[in-house]
Amino acid sequence: MILLPCPWCGPRNVAEFGYVGEAGPRPDPASAGPEEWRGYLYGRANPCGWVAESWYHRMGCRRYISVERHTLSNEVRPLATEGAGR
């Protein structure tokens, strides 16, 4: 079971977290066309390698946190900026 580095609680079992996934900004709803908007809804980089992603510490501090995870090895490292990005 991998450990996620929660900036508020310390390393915790991944089972305590809800997976949110790849971080990507929400386009401006006023100007986004269907293609851009649906890219935001459905598009994922899905890399085999490091990816910045969000998790929700459901059974802990209940904060959304961001980490970098290697999707093949499941190594995890903290992301420089916390709390930003969805």
Partner: protein, 429 residues
């Protein structure tokens, strides 16, 4: 459809008689498929030697006479999802498009042993999807109604009939997840998944298709022009291959392969785990699925219980498996069948599932001319092997997208026309 070309004398025909002859004479066996030299050009290159890729190659040759075809796999045939799934077949989907498609697949599977002269051991033992609450019972009825309208044998049954079909199930009301009813689908069942792969490989090879194992695609050549992009071939770790048609039939790596051609797919890859127990005397006929408990169970002819679940809780490419998976799985199995507590889990493994936003595949042409995809198979790819191969072969041979896969085009996401299979497929085995 053009007339079927005759397969050549090779491979040898299988029958009890030929086995007997071999047993007595002790002569050498004929290989099921041949090793061939890698050519530098093929009409069609298929990436991925699983059931989808091999079936596509087989039907290209058998139905359309297109035999200058190479199937490339970075490992051995069937080393990906085709050899890692839990080998359950069914067609009781939710949307008419899905039901039609998988029904065609089941029908092809029914005659596959005869078509391929290879016993794939399709065992139509019946398939039960349990409903533990009224909303899932409603979904079961929805599926049953759509199924019946599409001519698929499917019916909602009550606890008494469920107990008759699966005596080891606890159908009493005094459990945490009472069984209110089930969707019963008699044509569903299990199959020997490896045999399907080998049967198609043998059949395709018999028509002259080249199967290149341990051949990894490292790039896709695409020529760009003012009138759009066009595929020219693939690069592999064993050399470049020119081809005017390249089909991505991979699972787990489909977005990485598509990226090589500059095609972005709305897919996220998740591990899916499964497990098998030691053999015990057969006691379970039907395939039993519980969506609420995220588990499905079947028993092979060897006596092993095969378990599967929904995909892992987070995306990735790791196939190492987890302890939490088997813990949760065991708990849920025992909720359904408490008397299995002393049965031992023998082995767990994982495969990779390419999940699309609407739990339906992505099939057909892409913005790159000549580059086709047969991907996004989530947890239901094996079920669709034959029909996908048949339809993709049609697509290549005729240049038109067959009606049966028309709903699965990649453009549906940008157009906001998602399919409604999600409700049925969340733990759809």
């Amino acid at each position: 459809m053009p007339t079927r070309p005759r397969p050549r004398r090779y491979p040898a025909r299988y029958s009890a008689f030929s086995l007997l002859r071999h047993g007595l004479a002790g002569d050498h066996l004929v290989p099921a498929w041949r090793d061939r030299e890698l050519k530098n050009s093929y009409d069609v290159v298929i990436i991925g030697g699983g059931v989808h890729g091999l079936a596509t190659a087989y039907y290209l040759a058998a139905n359309h006479g297109i035999t200058d075809v190479a199937v490339l796999d970075k490992g051995y045939v069937g080393s990906g999802g085709s050899g890692r799934n839990t080998a359950i077949l069914r067609s009781n989907y939710l949307t008419p498009e899905g039901v039609r498609f998988y029904d065609r697949s089941v029908r092809l599977y029914e005659r596959l042993a005869a078509d391929l002269n290879y016993n794939v051991m399709f065992s139509q033992r019946g398939h039960l999807t349990l409903a533990h609450n009224d909303s899932s019972l409603r979904t079961m009825r929805w599926r049953a109604e759509v199924n019946k309208l599409e001519g698929v044998d499917s019916e909602v049954v009550g606890p008494a009939e469920i107990k008759k079909l699966v005596p080891y199930l606890d159908v009493s009301a005094a459990v945490r997840y009472p069984i209110l009813g089930a969707l019963y689908h008699p044509p569903g069942g299990i199959i020997r998944h490896d045999a399907v792969v080998w049967g198609y490989a043998r059949g395709a090879s018999g028509y002259g298709v080249h199967i290149h194992q341990n051949t990894e695609v490292t790039g896709i050549d695409v020529a760009g022009g003012p009138n759009g992009r066009r595929v020219r071939g693939v690069r592999t770790d064993r050399g470049d291959i020119a081809a005017s048609t390249v089909i991505n039939c991979t699972a787990g790596w489909s977005t990485l392969v598509a990226e090589m051609a500059g095609v972005r797919l709305p897919i996220q890859t998740f591990p899916l785990q499964a497990a098998v127990t030691e053999p015990v005397r057969p006691f379970l006929d039907a395939v039993v699925v519980s969506g609420s408990l995220h588990v499905y169970v079947s028993q092979t002819d060897r006596g092993e219980l095969v378990f599967g679940a929904s995909v892992d809780p987070f995306a990735g490419y790791s196939m190492r498996g987890s302890l939490e998976f088997v813990e949760g799985l065991a708990g849920h199995v025992l909720e359904l069948m408490p008397s299995l507590a002393k049965v031992r889990l023998l082995r767990q493994w994982a495969g990779l599932c390419d999940m699309t936003p609407d739990f339906s595949p992505i099939m057909g042409r892409t913005p790159v001319d000549g580059f086709l995809v047969d991907v996004g198979w989530g947890t239901y790819g094996f079920k669709a092997g034959p029909v996908s191969g048949e339809a993709m072969a049609d697509c290549v041979a005729t240049g038109r997208t067959p009606d049966i896969i028309a709903p699965f085009g990649v453009e549906r996401f940008a157009e906001g026309r998602l399919l409604g299979e999600k409700g049925a497929a969340a733990v759809g085995h």
